[in-house]
Structures are given as structure tokens and as C-alpha cells.
Symmetry: C2
């Protein structure tokens, strides 16, 4: 990278604080390991070869990833560690906005796999992560020792169907409309708070929600929905779903009442990380509560609050 930017081995060496010969040896060794020539040497400096051009962006990325890896554990001011269920749901969008507003604050977004809110809270208590976006099922039992939570984002549900589904043409549907329809939400891990949420949702409106089968990924779900006239799924307005342009899936709002998934931010009151305070401020600023629309949330959902 230094050579391509400086054009000369000796300039690159100066920038790196080593000798020209050391640069020569480094590159010769790299080329030997890769088995291809990266630079064509002339008496007027060095030029990237075809393979060098292909390799360079990967080299840059490698250094970026390394820097992030080090930043994630840097003693003193390490990156802010946030847990989200996955990178498509509403809280992930919140985090993207936060990152846009504060690009200087290093984020380390992680996903504690197959875990429920209790595990996340334990991780916050131990300091393994700084914050988590979760639905809190039993606040009074779980929040102790300075672990705090605030309900920050209600994501209204949408019905996801293929073009041939019976409800595909509807502008909106009510929960009652869904009774008797096959609603398939794969990948729900039993025992987690989201499993509890969908259980409560199904019970409240008499729905049948199929949770069978392992999660083969969103792509597989979209595949199934696109072809089926009987199968539908539930997603959230804030959930970022992407599908091939020829798929023609429909996202139909659910209304009267609108079931909302109650995402909370959970953090530790005594955590001194400056990024955490910034995140809470930013979320507070972005919050807009729609108390006008009729919504439904589980009984155990926390009351709305500012983080």
C-alpha cells in the first residue's frame, strides 16, 4: 500500500520508517507467498500489476479490519459493544442512524446467538457488552444492580406475503383477518423473549403461528413466500428486508390494533463509556411516540420511557 501511494520503494520505506531494502524484501516475500507478482519494477518507480490491482483493495480492508479488531478491546477507550438480535431489525436501523450522527464513536455490534433477554442482561451486568436491544419480559425481576432498561422503539407489524396470497391485495389487515391463515415465522428460538412475544400475540388474537423448522435464513423464507398462496409471515415496519427485484412480495400493515414489538435498550447505570451516554442521548432525540394509533403489546411490556 505504501509503495503504490508513494510510487517508489525508497519513499515508502521513509514513510514506514524502515530501509528501502526492507521494503524490497517484504514485497518479495509477499509475492512469493501469494505466488504472483504484485508490482512491476521499473527505473521510474513501481507500478501495480494486474494482480496487484486486484489485491490492493483486499489489503486495505485487511488493515481496516485489524484496526477495528484492536479497537474492540483497546484498554481505556475501547469500542462500544452493542447486542442486537440481528442486523435487519429496527434497533439495527437505530444504530445505523446513531453511527451516522456520531461517526467518531467506534461501534462493535455483536449478536449473542440463541440467547434470551436474561443472558443479555447477565452479559451487561458482567460488562461483556455495554448495551442490548431486547424486549424485557419481567422488568421487576431482571433489572437489578444498576442494570436499567427503557422501551425505545415499538415496531409495528406488517404481514409479508407473496403476490398470489389471498390477502396480497389488501391495503391493511386487522389481527382478526389473520385468524385461520398460515403464518410462518422460522428461526424463533424457544425460551427467548421473542418466542414469548409471539406466543402472547398468537394467544391474544387466536392466531396460529408456525415456528417449526430451523432457520434457513431470510432468503429461504422469502423464497417460500414468493411461491406460496397460503403461507404468510410477520415482519416489522422497521425491518429491512431485501429481495430480488423479480419477487414481488407484499408488506401489508396490520391495523386496529397494530401489534408492536416493544424493543427496549438495556444498559448498566454505572457504565462510564462515553459512547453509551451518546447513544442514549441520540435515541432520546430520535424517539417519536405515536400514541394516537391503537396498538397492542404484551402485558409484560415495559411502559414507554426515555433512555
Amino acid at each position: 500500500m505504501a509503495v503504490t501511494e508513494e510510487r517508489y520503494f525508497s519513499e515508502a520505506a521513509a514513510r514506514l520508517g524502515i530501509s528501502q531494502q526492507a521494503v524490497s524484501k517484504r514485497i518479495a516475500m509477499l509475492e512469493k507467498d501469494l505466488g504472483v507478482a504484485l508490482l512491476s519494477r521499473t527505473s521510474r518507480g513501481a507500478q501495480l500489476t494486474v494482480d496487484g490491482q486486484a489485491f490492493l483493495p483486499h489489503a486495505r480492508k485487511l488493515l481496516r479490519v485489524e484496526a477495528r479488531a484492536v479497537a474492540a478491546v483497546r484498554p481505556g477507550r475501547r469500542a462500544l459493544r452493542i447486542d442486537v438480535l440481528n442486523h435487519r431489525i429496527g434497533p439495527a436501523a437505530l444504530l445505523r442512524n446513531f453511527h451516522r450522527a456520531h461517526p467518531d464513536i467506534e461501534l462493535d455490534v455483536v449478536t449473542l446467538i440463541d440467547t434470551d433477554v436474561d443472558t443479555a442482561i447477565a452479559a451487561i451486568r458482567s460488562g461483556a457488552i455495554d448495551a442490548s436491544f431486547r424486549a424485557v419480559t419481567a422488568p421487576e425481576q431482571q433489572l437489578r444492580d444498576g442494570v436499567t432498561a427503557a422501551r425505545v422503539l415499538d415496531d409495528p407489524h406488517e404481514l409479508l406475503t407473496g403476490p398470489t396470497h389471498q390477502l396480497a391485495a389488501a391495503r391493511a389487515v386487522t389481527p382478526a383477518d389473520l385468524v385461520g391463515h398460515r403464518i410462518w415465522i422460522p428461526g424463533i428460538v424457544p425460551g427467548t423473549e421473542w418466542a414469548a412475544y409471539y406466543d402472547d400475540l398468537a394467544a391474544a388474537f387466536g392466531l396460529t403461528i408456525e415456528r417449526v423448522g430451523p432457520n434457513f435464513g431470510t432468503d429461504h423464507l422469502l423464497d417460500m413466500l414468493a411461491d406460496s398462496s397460503t403461507l404468510a409471515s410477520l415482519t416489522g415496519e422497521q425491518v429491512r428486508l431485501l429481495w430480488p427485484a423479480d419477487y414481488d412480495l407484499r408488506r401489508i400493515p396490520v391495523r386496529e390494533p397494530t401489534p408492536v414489538y416493544p424493543h427496549s435498550l438495556i444498559w448498566h447505570r454505572d457504565n462510564p463509556h462515553p459512547g453509551l451516554a451518546a447513544l442514549r442521548n441520540c435515541i432520546r432525540a430520535m424517539q417519536r411516540h405515536h400514541h394516537d394509533a391503537k396498538t397492542w403489546a404484551p402485558k409484560w411490556a415495559m411502559p414507554h420511557a426515555s433512555p
Copy 2:
């Protein structure tokens, strides 16, 4: 990574084909460099510390990136190098579909910055890249020595406006409707084939397309549009734009005629890379020509063809 998966230093050592002591030294050195403890050693194996948990995913990513870097230049069967203008336009979606269909074929998607179709063709001729998605302005002059092109994707234009724009409520607009409106497309590099395309489009329908200013990124464009009642932009149906959920931008189809951007695939006839043949096959299979709708493309656009 090996230790966390095997739980014991000695098991990890066996897997790596080195001695237990070497593993011990490696990890001790890594911890010294990072300045934090990654593993807590007990007499019943090793457990990740808090920092170790944070570091592990970065370590995995580092190895993945390294593997991709090596694969990009691996002699014999290196990754397939494709040039696209950016990762949001239609051809990039084509590539995502291709990757979904052929996950085994390693892709190296690159962007030759600020370059026009001639540079891309030269890169293909030299072997720097295997294929490029470009609009070909003067086929008869540019395509020689086995360099071949086929028009593979016509992306219909859409008007992009904020909610307060005069045309925001329209179901569709015609090019004539756009006369006199401010249409802003930042980031067009003069002298490129896309600059030529927008010049021709503006001339054909008497539009005024503002190309001023450097490109501050899509985010900035979306910001400007969201707030403005006079400014609009043009995008493509296949272009993948993402904006914050509270933005409420509108994408309005342009009809009668529909201007389409004529993306071609360019490649070298004699390039033996097996992935290239697969890509051409896949694109051929995905192609669906809509000859029914009235469309407009520049005079110089190639005739439609199968790659």
C-alpha cells in the same frame, strides 16, 4: 479461535499441528500486544474473557478477509473480477443474484474509480478485470481484439423526491412533466459514459439536469431531497436506495416513454475463467425483456443481446 472451539490448549495445538507450548506462547504474545487478557485459564480448559468474547468475531473476520484476499490472486483459479460503478445500481443486484445461485464461485467485485467505459474496456483487454457492467457508447470503435459486450439490463428511471415536492403525489410522471423542474444528480464524473447518457437524456426531452458539486454520498443527496420541495433526483427501479425510516422519500416511475439506462456486460471472448461462463449463463437465464413498454435509450445504446 482454535482454543475457544476446542476448549483446551492441547486440543487446539493438535488441530493446528503445533505443540501446546507454542499455542500458549502465541496467545500470551497476542494478549501482550493487545494489552488485555483474552482467555481465563483454569485446570478444566480455557474460557473466553469479556474482552475475548468481544475480540473473537473480529478474529474470525480477519481470517475471512485474508482468505478472500489470497483467493483474489490465487494463481490458477483466482476469484472472478467484476467491475461495477457502485454497489447500489441494478448490475450489482444482478451480481447478488448470481452469487446466490453460485455461492461456490468466488467473486471480487471492484469499482474502478472515476473511470469511463474506455478505461474499463482497456482493463478487460489487459486482463486486469474479467468483466464490467457499463453502458457502451460507441461499440464499433471500442470493441476489438475479442472484447465483447451485450446489453443485459435496462433500468427504468424513477423520479426521487421528498414528500413536499410538487410531483410527490403523482402515480407516474412523463419526461415532459419534468421540464422546468430542478433535477439534481451529484457525483457524475465528466467524460464518462454516464455523463454522456444524462447529457443525451436532458437534450432529448429538454430537461435541466444539475450535475454540480462533488458527490458527498447518497446520504447527503437523500438529506437534501427529504427537506426540499423543489429539488428532485433521478434513480433506477433496480437501484437499491436505503434511507432512515422517518424520511418518507418517494420513488415515482417515469413513463411514456420510460427512459432506461442501458447496462451492458463487457468481457473478453478468450477469457477462460469458468466463473465468467457461469455469469453469462446466469444473466442470460435471468434476462426478461419488456418490449411492450415504450422506452427511450440513447441513440448510441447497443441493441439488446444475450451475453
